[in-house]
């Protein structure tokens, strides 16, 4: 492929419409006669619903209907859980609470009215009688006993699972030192800028339903919602318009989506619900929420002999789509960037009276990386070795790939030392340490932290996924020469309209502007899996590439027929097929029929008489007019490909962070932030930088600011952005970025994925820096978020 676009910093073609406010999100889709839904949600974390009085609400102006649990108990199927684990307890999760409310924000009633204000006002008129029940809030306590949330299971334990390879007992026994540390991965809220939103429109005559939803997975949602409401899947169309961020929170099928679809069928009218920020905090999935203890065995020289992680995972009250599976990703990544002969994770998944946890940017990997990278620093401190050397000591060499880990993975490719060295150089590590010593002598608290992470991307082979790990693409060249790419990997801010167009434009030798990438409409786009797990480019982009290669096989056949030569003798360059003798002369010439300049009216018949070259766009026209095709050739020029990856990909890198702690207040200030990431081949460096930036910001959010807090009664304390501290631009350091580029052998693009790397790699670097800064006080660990008060307490003892 001639790289005219791939590898270039091309501005996102999505941006002008977003910046100008011309994009269409779910709430921008306005249909006549739309009814609006407001929810009554539980104000208690655990309560029996003894009665619901909707009389006053039904009399309120504009109210069309009110639905409660009894209306849907037998008509709408449960919220689906796709995770498959041995002996997993799966509670029946109805779209409105039936009998008991299990978390604050649990939907109890839905009010439908002629506008959203009237619906909201009427919701206040519904009176719910509750019998409060004892709550299970603390995850460790709930694992051991206390109030049982789902009586039928007898306890709050949803599952226990042991994973890993090697003899962990022997490995720890063989160690000179064993370090142990309890770590809390606090509960986080994804907080996509656009909350969730649903618009459902039933066509009673056609018996068809269109569902607009702000989701990452239009096709999976179509399948699931069709099953939930009993509508044939081919009568349901899911459209994902512009999506204002997801971070995993929209990789789900929510109660509201199925309920709105069902209500629209009941009433025969469009119904809409747009989530408020408070609902978003209460009833959109949360992430992380693990409490674990890591044990690491090491030799005196820093060689790691084994790692065990015993963890309880706070699942919340119910399983959403992947809830119980997230901690299993933690288990997969516990080898980090290191050779660890024996690894074991023992996880207990625990129900609590809180919103479900599920995939949040990184989804299980940030927890693993944090465990491993904090542990490496703790080992370094124990052995009084530089943290750099402990890491270097345990890296597999670049010649050892594919590298098998004791978590059962085969890392595709890597050169961990190269990324580490680049980060050390970029940061001036040796000099930083010298400056730190000087600053310490002057009484300043300077800390240097690092993290050498590996993550798992391009999810993934179907064998390892709950519902398909492939991705699809259709590529068409239209009669006028424009190129349409249909991708199943529906993006929600990642920029695939740009990056996939770059791939297509280069592979077809056409102008970038000639390519349009279409996604997110199940009536237009072939089945796809979606954008999550940093998979879109590696899996979906590869599908685009191979679909084009298929398309080109056909184009070459047509070209050979028209140019009267063998297909195998044709040269293809700059979007043009040439007969051998003509190749040199035509390489620089322009297409004869420029895109968009075809005469109006009837399709122009290409004059093929005596031609020695043809552009692929001209071939598209020939293929559609279909008068000059080789025998047994289908008219048209399009190809579809479903790409099944053979393995995951494993991006990696090293982040180095320098902080200064204010001794008096405990506040953390950034002095430097250096990140060297390797995400394989880069399609668009601008997009990659953007992903790294955003990822680091969210990682810093976890390290310093964010925490979803429920009080002892299970009330959500951080229910607003006035309390839940998202990171802000003004708090961020300047990011000094660089890259190494180790192609992945898993896909022909050589890409690995970058959507979550920053979030995975950066958190431990920041915490390691803070702990390093506090080491003069004997501090060995500090749980997140590193609020100033917690730091101050460590300083004052």
């Amino acid at each position: 492929m001639a790289a005219k676009y791939v590898g270039k910093r091309i501005k996102r073609t999505e941006d002008p419409r977003l910046i100008k406010g011309l994009a269409h999100y779910v709430d921008d889709v306005r249909l006549p006669d739309t009814l609006h839904v407001a929810f009554v949600r539980s104000i208690y974390a655990h309560a029996r619903i003894t009665s619901i009085d909707v009389t006053e609400a039904l009399k309120a102006p504009g109210v069309v209907a009110v639905y409660t649990g009894k209306d849907i108990a037998t008509t709408v199927g449960p919220v689906p859980c796709a995770a498959a684990l041995p002996d997993l307890k799966i509670p029946d999760y109805r779209v409105l609470a039936t009998g008991k409310a299990l978390f604050v924000g649990h939907p109890i009633a839905a009010v439908v009215a002629t506008d959203r204000y009237l619906a909201r006002d009427a919701a206040d008129l519904i009176s719910v009688d509750y019998e409060e029940l004892p709550v299970a809030v603390d995850v460790e306590a709930s694992a051991k006993g206390g109030p049982v949330i789902h009586e039928q299971f007898g306890s709050n334990i949803a599952y226990t699972l042991t994973s890993g390879e090697g003899d962990i007992e022997a490995a720890l026994k063989s160690a000179d030192h064993i370090v142990t540390q309890r770590m809390v991965h606090q509960r986080l809220a994804p907080v996509a800028m656009e909350g969730r939103g649903v618009l459902a429109r039933y066509f009673p005559g056609e018996e068809e339903l269109t569902l607009w939803s702000s989701t990452q997975i239009p096709h999976l949602m179509r399948t699931q919602v069709a099953l939930m409401i009993g509508l044939p899947e081919n009568k349901l169309r899911v459209i994902t318009p512009e999506v204002g961020g997801g971070f995993g929170s929209k990789l789900n099928v929510y109660a509201e989506e199925a309920l709105l679809a069902w209500i629209s069928i009941q009433l025969g009218k469009p119904v809409k619900w747009i989530e408020s920020r408070r609902e978003n905090m209460q009833a959109t999935i949360h992430g992380r929420a693990q409490v674990g203890t890591v044990e690491v065995g090491c030799k005196n020289d820093g060689t790691i002999t084994g790692l065990r992680y015993n963890v309880v995972a706070d699942l919340g009250a119910y399983h959403q789509l992947l809830t119980p599976a997230i901690p299993t990703l933690t288990g997969l990544m516990l080898s980090g960037a290191y050779r660890i002969p024996a690894i074991q994770m023992n996880v207990t998944g625990v129900f609590t009276n809180k919103m479900s946890t599920d995939a949040y940017r990184g989804a299980g990997r940030p927890e693993a990386t944090y465990v491993v990278e904090r542990a490496m620093d703790i080992v370094a401190a124990e052995l009084k070795i530089d943290p750099v050397e402990v890491r270097r000591k345990n890296f597999p060499a670049k010649t050892e790939f594919p590298f098998h880990t004791a978590t059962g993975l085969d890392y595709d490719s890597g050169d961990y030392e190269a990324a580490l060295d680049k980060a050390l150089n970029l940061s001036g590590y040796a000099k930083l340490r010298a400056e730190q010593a000087k600053a310490r002598a002057a009484g300043k608290l300077i800390g240097i932290g690092m993290s050498s992470y590996v993550e798992i991307c391009a999810l993934g082979p179907s064998q390892a996924m709950p519902a398909g790990g492939w991705e699809s693409a259709t590529v068409r060249i239209e009669p006028t020469g424009t190129v349409t790419v249909l991708t199943g990997a529906s993006p929600h801010g990642q920029g695939q309209e740009t990056s996939f167009a770059q791939i297509a434009a280069d592979e077809l030798g056409v102008d970038l502007n000639a390519v349009t990438v279409i996604h997110g409409d199940t009536a237009i786009v072939q089945y796809g899996i979606g954008t999550f797990g940093s998979r879109a480019t590696a899996v979906g982009g590869t599908a685009v590439l191979i679909a084009i290669q298929k398309l080109k096989e056909k184009a070459a056949k047509i070209a050979a027929h028209v140019l009267r030569c063998e297909a195998s003798s044709l040269a293809f360059e700059g979007g043009r097929y040439s007969r051998p003798s003509a190749a040199a002369a035509s390489a620089v010439s322009e297409p004869d029929v420029a895109v968009g300049e075809a005469p109006a009216g009837a399709l122009p018949e290409p004059d093929t008489e005596g031609r020695s070259t043809l552009t692929i766009q001209e071939i598209a026209l020939i293929a559609h007019i279909a008068k000059e095709l080789p025998p047994d050739t289908e008219p048209g020029l399009s190809a579809t490909y479903f790409f099944e990856p053979k393995n995951f990909t494993f991006p990696f890198g090293t982040h180095i962070c320098v902080v200064e702690i204010d001794k008096e207040t405990g506040e953390t200030k950034f002095l430097r932030y250096v990140a060297v990431d390797d995400c394989g081949k880069v399609i668009n460096p601008l997009l990659v930088d953007g992903q790294i930036h955003g990822g680091i910001v969210q990682a810093i959010g976890q390290a310093l600011y964010e925490e979803v807090v429920y009080d002892e009664q299970g009330q959500l304390v951080t229910g607003e952005l006035m309390d839940y501290a998202l990171p802000k631009a003004s708090q961020m350091p300047w990011f000094e970025l660089d890259r190494t580029e180790t192609p992945s052998p898993v896909n022909p693009l050589g890409v690995k994925g970058v959507g979550e790397a920053g979030t995975i790699g950066a958190t431990p670097a920041v915490v390691n820096a803070i702990v390093d800064a506090l080491s003069p006080y004997g501090v060995k660990h500090l749980d997140m978020p590193a609020r100033p008060e917690a730091v101050w307490k460590l300083i004052t003892g």
Binding site: T665, L704, R787, W792
Partner: protein, 287 residues
């Protein structure tokens, strides 16, 4: 995030606004809307009537009149932050304004709205107290002056009576031996003051502290004057030790707030630290 139903009137004159207030006991004045509207959207506030004073002429100004600084209640934070006049003659106000919210908030939010709201973590009340401002309250029955010390009564409660609107804030100009500073820890989520300390010091000709005026916000249910700090400062030269000793009294006799971000103990400590920092900066600027 949809408010309860309410009526809305845009007043064209102050008299019209005052008449509406007099007729509707539960009506609320809408200034910049940056505290009231969020509270309404959460249904924490459900006023039946909003009287919008945003279009009334002559409520937005910054001027100097016979040694007195006068600021109209509808003057935005940004207008204060960017005022060259204030930077010269009362730099505490622009400095304090720069700590409020973000650019959008400063462009819309007003000093009068914020002061009249008396949020316990709002920035302005600390400055108003430190500057010994006087607040002009107007009602159908005429105007009255309220001293800053009497204005902030309790959590979200001021000395404004039913039917009164805050019209103007008056501050006496200081002399050239005055130094002012605002030191604040921002809450990472809300941007409000976890602790905010405004210091306004005047030195005598020998460099001793002639007058000290310290306002503190964020610590208690309302902003307050740190009397013990002031008296510990007054009358002697200010060195590091003297300042630290004085600042140790920052939260004396005050009921201290504790929350998720800062416990009572930590907040007391922060009050002392930021008082020390504000005084140190003000002292340096006075010298």
């Amino acid at each position: 995030m949809i408010s309860a139903p309410f009526d809305y009137v845009r007043a064209n004159t102050l008299d019209e606004a005052l008449a509406l207030l007099a007729q509707n006991e539960d009506a609320k004045i809408l200034a910049g809307g940056h505290s009231l509207i969020p509270a309404m959207k959460l249904r924490l506030a459900m006023p039946p009537l909003l009287v919008d004073i945003g279009r009334i002429k002559d409520l937005s100004y910054i001027r100097e009149d016979h040694g007195q600084i006068q600021i109209g209640a509808m003057t935005t934070h940004y207008q204060i932050e960017s005022s060259d006049l204030l930077k010269k003659i009362c730099p505490l106000l622009p400095e304090c304004a720069g700590h409020i919210g973000d650019v959008q908030v400063r462009n819309k939010g007003t000093i009068g709205g914020s002061v009249a709201h008396s949020d316990p973590s709002g920035d302005w009340p600390a400055a108003i107290i430190a500057l010994n401002a006087e607040l002009v309250a107007v009602s159908k029955n005429g105007e009255r002056l309220v001293k800053a010390d009497d204005f902030f009564v309790d959590l979200m409660t001021t000395a404004l009576e039913a039917g009164e609107i805050l019209r103007e804030i008056r501050i006496n100009k200081s002399n050239d031996r005055t130094g002012q500073a605002y030191a604040k820890m921002h809450h990472p989520a809300s941007g409000f003051a976890v602790v905010g300390v405004a210091a306004n010091l005047t030195l005598d000709r020998n460099g001793g502290c002639e007058k000290a005026s310290i306002g503190i916000t964020g610590v208690s249910s309302k902003a307050y004057r740190a009397l013990a700090v002031e008296s510990a400062l007054t009358g002697s030269a200010l060195d590091e030790q003297k300042i630290a000793n004085a600042a140790a009294h920052a939260a004396d006799g005050v009921d201290i707030n504790g929350d998720l971000f800062a416990s009572e103990d930590y907040r007391r400590h922060l009050a002392q630290v930021f008082t020390k920092r504000a005084i140190a900066a003000a002292t340096e600027r006075a010298g």
